[in-house]
Symmetry: C2
Subunit: 301 residues, 2 copies
């Protein structure tokens, strides 16, 4: 019963040390496998050929997302990495991006490129309605931070209410969109959410709305976003995810002044935090305890 | 006993209506003055010739700042506009700017201009020490918001401690600077603070530090900032204030990728909030009550 490490080699020393200290069996990459039957779990972003491991019980994504993984063989569980750092990092990016749209930074950055000193009316955060699609742990953190800054925050969730944030159910999606001056997407990518930010959805936002996207590139129909910006219906967007990634140098999004792109850096898993989570997962697996970060593979998150 | 309105004409209807409803004497501009002896207070950004008004008792700045005003005649009080909106607006800009430096936005915006998808290590807010120069009401708001996001915040103040924020006294300025990975300037402009962000001060910041400046342009020696950036000692800066303002189109700051400038828009006084404050000031003046926003003219703020 051992974990096979199959990810960024730069992280190996940190993982190796932590597992050695805990006395937890650890295999440092496929080249180090002597008996494939010993491998019960694999930590990876892109998995190896899983058919080689007859006793595989679990695949652990080394990131928060699992949508990049293929369907796993029957009986193999899937977990994602939970690390306090990941959630705080995404929160920081989303709060920053929301404030940047609230305070017209795409406009000011575009003006600065021309050396243009021109002011626009400043609005109070209390006058802005923020809508969050995807009210999981990160959505809850983001909602709390934006409420503390005075924004009028609501969430959309199929799994019901979260603390002090007014929640809209899936059946109330149109009403939710109609009140989202700043729409934040934190959804997981599933067959149901693929392409969810499309012409129809964007048209339901109030005039002048902005989009903050930290979900997955495939949630967004970029041509629909461009059309909504061209029509003046949307004002601006902050994207941390694109389709494809990396976004090619010649892609029109880079040069659209209404859109600011960051290269999928809302969060990175800290090597030590990731290793700690993996260790907890292996200990839970050994003890038959609930696996932290276990993914419902039918639901997709 | 009347207030002379001597500011942006666009705001006149709002002030006029509010003063009329309150039955408070109001003179709509110098052209409307019939007897200069009636004028006891003047609301302005740039004052008129004050020697015309023998019974003047108070000048009210229609913004939060008063450093642009000349010395007033003996016996004339000075007040600045306090409006909840101003403080929240500055807080929003400063929190945004701090997050933008924390998350390397100058770097990512520069890369985006070249269509370059390249990631840099993400740091946790808990690993960043923020230093706030100027711990007045706005400084306190900013400190609270940044602490809630996990930043390690300290303040520098000549007037002592503020709530839960660790405070450094003026005599501990070097120690304060040495721990400020992100330095925020919210100081009022006075003879003591003019040029305070100079080569010597910036050299005391830790390597890689960033500057967030929402004080006044004259606090900052821009050439010293450029030298510190060129030397790699500072990483980036967010400036809402410059010297001069407007910043001329051909100024080097506009095209320096390490500096992001906004055109003095951290806050704007909402016309109604400004008028309400002026009304409160006039009522206090009439009743001999403490004047809200009264400025210590010897101290300069």
């Amino acid at each position: 019963m051992a974990l096979l490490f199959h990810t960024t080699p730069a992280r190996l020393p940190i993982w190796q040390k932590l597992f050695a200290e805990a006395g937890e069996p650890f295999i440092a990459g496929e080249d180090a496998v002597t008996d494939p039957a010993e491998v019960t779990a694999i930590a990876c972003w892109t998995p190896p050929d899983l058919s080689r491991y007859p006793n595989l019980r679990l695949v652990l994504s080394v990131g928060a997302g699992v949508d990049h993984l293929p369907a796993l063989p029957q009986g193999v569980a899937l977990a994602r990495t939970l690390a306090p750092g990941i959630e705080a990092m995404v929160r920081d990016w989303v709060v920053m991006a929301t404030l940047m749209l609230h305070r017209d930074m795409p406009l000011y950055i575009d003006q600065a490129g021309r050396g243009e000193w021109r002011t626009h009316p400043v609005r109070l955060s209390t006058s802005r309605r923020v809508g969050i699609m995807g009210m999981g742990r990160i959505g809850g953190l983001v909602a709390g931070s934006l409420q503390a800054l005075g924004f009028d925050v609501a969430g959309l969730s199929r799994t019901g209410s979260t603390g002090t944030v007014p929640m809209f159910a899936a059946s109330q999606r149109d009403a939710f969109l109609a009140r989202s001056d700043l729409l934040i997407c934190l959804l997981p990518l599933t067959p149901e959410t693929r392409g969810i930010l499309n012409a129809e959805t964007l048209a339901k936002l109030p005039a002048g709305a902005g989009l903050i996207h930290a979900g997955r590139g495939a949630h967004l129909d970029a041509q629909a976003l461009r059309a909504a910006l061209d029509a003046g219906h949307l004002s601006a967007a902050m994207l941390d995810v694109t389709d494809p990634e990396p976004l090619p140098t010649e892609h029109w999004i880079w040069s659209d002044p209404r859109i600011i792109v960051t290269p999928h850096i809302a969060a990175q898993t800290d090597a030590l935090e990731g290793a700690r989570h993996a260790l907890t997962v292996m200990q839970a697996l050994r003890q038959g305890a609930p696996i932290p970060g276990l993914v419902d593979q039918a639901r997709g998150y």
